[in-house]
């Protein structure tokens, strides 16, 4: 633990953190762009400047980037100091010189970190009256839209896509105010984790294309705490709805499981809920004819049809525990099936029994990142539990070296 002094007040913080992290954890706001809890500090955006004093007697102090300064014991800083405030205001003003005035038509509007930080620094007048820098945009596939004019060059996208997620088809090109983030040429992003760009980007360069067609603001959607149904990983999601349609899925932070990131299957794979062909009312079906009936009629007919008959109940590993249990209550344990083939059931039961074995430790998805040697037996994780593959990769991506040796064994 360390004691830091912020604008004359003393706080106990974790001394291994940087000042930005420490202050945010205390609930004190400092505007920032390039820092991200999962991507660390690079000090490129200069937005999180604060004044640091050598000791309590020092009255002049000097500007430091809070994300690059350790929260060491007895650090004296000021966020409210005028020099720091003016510096932060001018940084936002500089960033905004090239940022388009397109918030009303920008899909990031209303859940935009750049908007929030601009408001936080109280920047509300434009003095720059000249031509803005413009870029050509790329076509990045069916998931993500690209609008480079909005870029503020925080480098989060490339640090996430290349350094964190290990993607190889994305980079940063050119220099100075013309710096460009994208693929070498237009084309579908190859990474299975590309959707996180929409949340990592603090502004509207990368937005959710699947949401574009039927778009609405974040504040105009209804949400629920939810769990992704795409695989067995149990990532937490925040699906948004309007007018009876599921409009988009965003990550819902769970510090033990998915943290800040989802895979593209979870983020973009829920459109089936809106399909016109799904049954939304009870139906009678005879030889291809579908008749819609009322709830009472359906229930009465089912009851009539199964009265005094031997009824089998087939449950499902994609249905909730409650629904499976209700089926078991209805048909009786001796007539209830999990709905898995014998082979699948044997495998899943084996997995469950191994997990309950004395001496076997079963880590959370987050803990996976803390292991220092990994043996993967028989899984192409990116296909079967994608978020876990990202956890395995993250460990390694901090240390991207040359391509690994590749061996082959003939079975």
């Amino acid at each position: 633990m360390a004691t830091i002094h912020v604008d004359g007040k003393s706080y106990e913080v974790n001394g291994s953190e940087n000042l930005l992290q420490a202050c945010l954890s205390l609930g004190i706001d400092i505007p920032y762009f390039c820092w991200h809890p999962s991507l660390g500090s690079v000090g490129s955006c200069r937005q999180c400047a604060v004044t640091q004093y050598a000791n309590p007697e020092d009255t002049r102090g000097r500007l430091v980037m809070s994300c690059m300064t350790p929260a060491a014991d007895n650090t004296y800083i000021s966020i409210e100091d005028n020099e720091a405030k003016n510096f932060r205001a001018s940084i936002v003003e500089f960033l905004m010189t090239n940022h388009p005035h397109d918030c009303p038509v920008c899909e990031e509007g209303g859940h935009c970190h750049l908007q929030d930080m601009t408001v936080m620094t109280q920047h509300d007048r434009r003095r720059y009256r000249f031509t803005k820098r413009t870029h050509y945009n790329q076509e990045l596939g069916s998931f993500i839209s690209h609008e480079m004019n909005r870029c503020i060059a925080c480098y989060r996208c490339v640090r996430y896509y290349k350094d964190y997620a290990g993607g190889t088809d994305f980079g940063v090109y050119a220099s100075a105010s013309r710096v460009y983030f994208g693929r070498p040429e237009s084309g579908t992003l190859e990474s299975e984790f590309s959707g996180n760009l929409t949340e990592v980007c603090p502004t509207g360069v990368f937005t959710d294309k699947t949401h574009s067609e039927r778009y609405n603001r974040k504040w105009d959607m209804q949400y629920a705490p939810s769990v992704c149904q795409g695989c067995s990983s149990g990532c937490n999601i925040s699906p948004g709805e309007r007018y009876g349609e599921l409009r988009r899925v965003e990550n819902r932070f769970n510090g033990d499981v998915n943290q800040y990131f989802l895979c593209d299957k979870g983020r973009f794979g829920t459109g089936y809920v809106n399909r016109a062909d799904r049954p939304r009312q009870p139906q009678f079906r005879t030889a291809g004819n579908v008749t819609t009936v009322s709830v009472d009629q359906a229930l009465d007919t089912v009851i009539e049809n199964i009265q005094a008959k031997k009824v089998l109940g087939i449950g499902s590993p994609r249905a909730s525990l409650e629904s499976n249990f209700a089926l078991r209550e209805l048909v009786g344990q001796e007539n209830y099936s999990t709905g898995m083939s014998q082979k699948e059931q044997n495998l899943v039961e084996l997995a469950a029994s191994i997990m309950q074995t004395e001496g076997v430790y079963n880590p959370t998805m987050r803990e996976i990142e803390s292991y220092d040697a990994v043996l993967i037996l028989g899984e192409d994780l990116t296909q079967t539990a994608p978020r876990m593959a990202l956890s395995v990769r993250e460990k390694q991506s901090q240390r991207n070296g040359s391509r690994a040796p590749y061996s082959r064994m003939v079975g």
Binding site: V302, I314, Q345, I376, L377
Partner: protein
Amino acid sequence: MAAERRTQEWLAEPVQRIGQDEKSPIYILAATQTRLADVATGEVVASPNDIARLGFAVAAAVAGESITGLADDAKAFAQTIADTLKAAKKPLIISGTSLQDASIMEAAAQVAQNLGSNAGLTLTVPEVNSMGLAILGGQSLEQAFAQDFDAVIVVENDLYRRLPAAQVNAALSGKDVIVLDHSETETVKKADIVLSAASFAEGDGTVVSQEGRAQRFYQVYDPSYYKPELAIKESWRWLHALETGLKGKAISWTLLDDVIESVAKNVPALEAIQDVAPNAGFRVHGLKVAREPRRYSGRTAMRAPLSIHEPKQPVDKDSALTFSMEGYVGNQTPAALVPFAWSAGWNSPQAWNKFQDNVGGHLKGGDAGIRLFDRLAKRPARTFVAPAPVVANPESFRRVPMQHIFASGEFTVKTPAMESRIPEAMFAVGEQDAARLNVQDGQKITVKTGEAEIVLPVQVIEYLPTGYIGYPVGIAPTVSLAEPVSVAVGV
């Protein structure tokens, strides 16, 4: 490593520079080249049987026993992996069900047991609630179909993805078929009566993830608010209505909490699901939690085409959430009930800062979910035995399941945004076998099993064990992959 150089772990660029030549070793034994190959220290492509035997060899080497029944290079490789795992402070073994081979998971368990208490083991399973059903228990499909029965109720399950079509058709023929589902599946098409079940977006429920974490998902919206004729209900509601009607019982489940209580009472292993999230009576400062942000607009006009009189908002009896902007919005919501990230002045996903005990750490009051395996009694450790080698027969081929992130999912293939990302169904064939069969990319081959003939084009890939054909799970017909098959070039 960065710590040894007195560099803080949050300094992204220096940490990366310091670690550039040092890698945490990752060894992968798989049936084809995986997407993690670029970070692997060593990756071996082998048949499921060889993966299991190599896994057991690693376990033996970890325990200091001699390795038998493997070629010298494989022995040396197993020894290298074992030495690496033993040298690590925290070794992790990852395995799962995707190759449909139990001995692979047994090998993984044996390696983890032999490594001792600092080792971790994680196993992936096929679906969102597979682990929950393994704990709940029940018969397999084949066992159930072996009984005499007159009618069958199928709940949210497409049987044609579980068993070969002929087997499903035989089981369903002449029976009353009642299907509850939220999508137009092949099984729904076979139904006499379809009851419109809720998907995760229209219903509440509890699922158990591969780590044994029980978590609750909540209804996002009420479809009948927009279209009053719609009758989408959670399967458990339909089933309880049938049960009470059939048995002449009084309705005993009116809320989700009633069902959860029943599950907890009747299935002791699932008792903890009561603690997964606060119950429907929960309030923050006397308020339910709002599903809509405070600025939600247009509600009065939303239903104007139906009637200009705005009805009361739907009432959510099942949870502590409301279908409204009226209610609590803020960071005192328990983790399991946070619908979206928002805090005053923080509209972007960066707002999670305000919900965390420490930025980037965990949510205030603990992350959502209860790890069931931490609460269940432990079973004594077992010793698993390596499988016998499968003798390759040059005349016949075996199939190995090939999973694809988008194509293998039951519902991703029904999602419009995914259409351009679903590959064509193809048999994967290794280069050596392709040369031996004299087939090229795109050429069609016929695979004959006892039950069916399947014709698909060939995709020649660099790495696949000889004598094996990759079978595209999910986009090709469901077949048993156990038996050897014969292969003919052409249709």
